[in-house]
């Protein structure tokens, strides 16, 4: 943790900058959602990419994940893996590529 007063002053500037970037991205997300891309899935993908960038900024800068103790990364890595499993498998149980069509 950056603890010296100068470091903290520097951080304050960074925080305000990131706050502004987040607001900017929010405006972009809203605007883009009204633009009809070739398919709605594309709208969703673009929107989610923007949201992920915003979330990453919050996590990395606001939550100090850009310089955190190793252990926190380990915990989050496992959590990330399990959450991904949760996401993917829900999706696959609706769309099953192994259907025997030719029977």
């Amino acid at each position: 943790m950056a603890d010296s007063p100068q470091e903290i002053q520097k951080q304050v500037k960074k925080i305000l900058l990131i706050g502004a970037i987040l607001i900017f991205f929010t405006v972009v997300t809203v605007a883009l959602s009204y633009v009809e891309l070739p398919s709605h899935s594309l709208n969703i993908i673009v929107g989610m990419i923007l949201a992920t960038i915003k979330a990453a900024l919050v996590a990395l800068v606001f939550m100090h994940l850009n310089h955190e103790a190793k252990l926190v990364y380990k915990v989050l890595a496992f959590t990330g893996a399990f959450v991904t499993a949760l996401f993917l498998l829900f999706y696959f149980s609706n769309i099953d590529p192994l259907v025997f069509k030719d029977f």
Binding site: G19, T26, A55, A59, V72
Partner: protein, 465 residues
């Protein structure tokens, strides 16, 4: 005898206890919201109706996003100022953060309230009418002369309690009742308790006489001095009444026989959704008793207008379009969702005013409009397939919307309480051990950023996409 590493970090892990704790807690929260978001995906992929897009109040959602981002910044500034020992600024930023949480919840409550008052009625042909129920929805069931109360033999969840479940719905003054033994009574708590005790006695005696193992249910018949009419919302009944029902059963098991006087639903229509109607021009909504020809014409006008607009916007110059109109959710909505802003249809003169588009990208007549400017229809019960206000019951989209935002709202409240607690009650720690308080604020802040982070995904998923 203090627990080690509450203030300073343990050298080999580089973390103090609370920080380990909060990250573990957040990991668990990730799984919680992960479960909810994957439920969202699951429901959306499997949805058998057009998934609502831009249907919520985007402005409110947008403002709330700004509020949350702002509070995320202020909680960090509060922490930084505490680290620098600028106590006054620390307090100010903490208070702003908590106020932001308050503003967020106030906005949310406006949004929720509008949903609770707005209704959607699915007709039997798949047409959906949205609007307001000016008097709520109540059925009128009359010509009732006898109440059949059932006293359960054993303690049961459905047990006669006419004073709470039946009497309040009698139109006008409740008449006097005659019991089976000919006694005339006013039905109230005292007289019913007495009746119930007698019935129970008889049931026990019968069980004894017949050698039954179980005390049977016992019926009490009460004859009204004059015929009764009930006016009640169908939710007070055990099962929804079918059209033209001759008997209804109340939630406490009381049944009455009589005649359905009126089960029509009066709806102030503010939108017609024809996306799921197979033959759109023959929709029940355009039935002469309901919205009739003028609105049908308005719909046809709007559809043509939408098609023209779509072709102009996405025309490829060879008579086709670069977007598949069937796959464009927005276009489908522009064609088949007719927002209604006035009691009579406006005249769409799209033919004359070509190029002067009045594209109707309105959200379905934003909830909570002033009443009285909408056509009123009286829907026959047999035409109503399903109705609900805009609550979890309406469809899986609103169900997941309320669950996600409700749970997120609870997190906002919890975070505000915790941060508020630090600023109000931790004065002593601020004086004596500010470093420890800074740790607390940091940990509380981490939670607060997480709440913000969840909203960053919620906002586009529910409001925009």
């Amino acid at each position: 005898m203090d627990i080690p590493y509450t203030v300073t970090a343990r050298p080999d892990t580089g973390l103090y206890n609370a920080k380990v704790g909060i990250w573990l807690f957040l990991a668990s929260e990730v799984m919680l919201f992960g479960g909810l978001f994957s439920s969202y995906i699951f429901l959306r992929v499997g949805a058998d109706y057009p998934w609502p897009v831009h249907e919520l109040n985007v402005t409110l959602g947008f403002v709330n996003t700004l509020v949350l981002i702002g509070s995320s910044v202020t909680v960090l500034l509060a922490w930084a100022n505490l680290k620098l020992r600028n106590i006054a600024k620390y307090k100010m930023y903490m208070i702003i953060t908590v106020l932001c949480a308050g503003a967020f919840m106030v906005n949310k409550s406006f949004e929720y309230k509008a949903k609770f008052q707005h209704y959607s009625v699915t007709l039997t042909d798949g047409t959906i009418l949205t609007g307001h129920l000016p008097h709520g929805y109540e059925i009128e069931f009359g010509d009732v002369t006898t109440l059949n109360l059932t006293v359960a033999g054993k303690h049961s969840a459905v047990d006669a309690d006419p004073v709470d479940y039946v009497l309040p719905y009698i139109k006008g003054e409740a008449p006097k009742f005659k019991t089976e033994s000919g006694e005339e009574i006013v039905l109230d708590k005292a007289s019913f308790t007495k009746l119930r005790a007698e019935a129970h006695e008889k049931a026990v005696a019968k069980a004894k006489a017949d050698g039954l193992k179980e005390t049977p249910n016992w019926n009490i018949k009460l004859t009204a001095a004059s015929p009764i009419t009930f006016v009640l919302p169908p939710s007070k009944l055990l099962a929804k009444p079918v059209a033209g029902a001759t008997a209804i059963a109340f939630r406490d098991g009381t049944t009455v026989e009589g005649k359905m006087i009126n089960d029509k639903m009066t709806l102030e229509v503010d939108g017609i959704d024809l996306r799921a109607t197979p033959d759109k021009e023959k929709s029940l909504a355009f039935n002469e008793h309901y919205l009739g020809e003028p609105w049908k014409k308005a719909f046809i006008d709007q559809r043509e207008h939408a098609i023209a607009e779509f072709n102009e916007k996405y025309g490829d110059g060879k008579g086709g379009t670069t977007r598949d109109p069937l796959k464009s959710a927005t276009h489908q909505k522009h064609m088949f969702f007719v927002p209604i802003h006035s009691a009579t249809p406006e005249v769409h003169e799209h033919a004359k005013a070509e190029g002067e588009h009045k594209a109707e990208a309105h959200a379905p007549a934003e909830h909570g409009d002033a009443h009285g400017h909408h056509p009123e229809v009286h829907l026959e019960r047999q035409h109503v397939h399903f109705f609900s206000n805009f609550t979890p019951k309406l469809n899986s989209y609103y169900a997941i919307y309320f669950t996600l935002t409700g749970l997120h709202g609870l997190h906002v409240v919890a975070g505000a309480l915790v941060l508020g607690y630090f600023v109000v009650f931790n004065g002593r720690m601020l004086r004596e051990d500010p470093e420890r308080l800074a740790n607390r604020v940091e940990v509380g802040g981490l939670f607060w950023h997480f709440v913000d982070l969840v909203w960053i995904f919620l906002f586009p998923l529910l409001y925009l996409l």
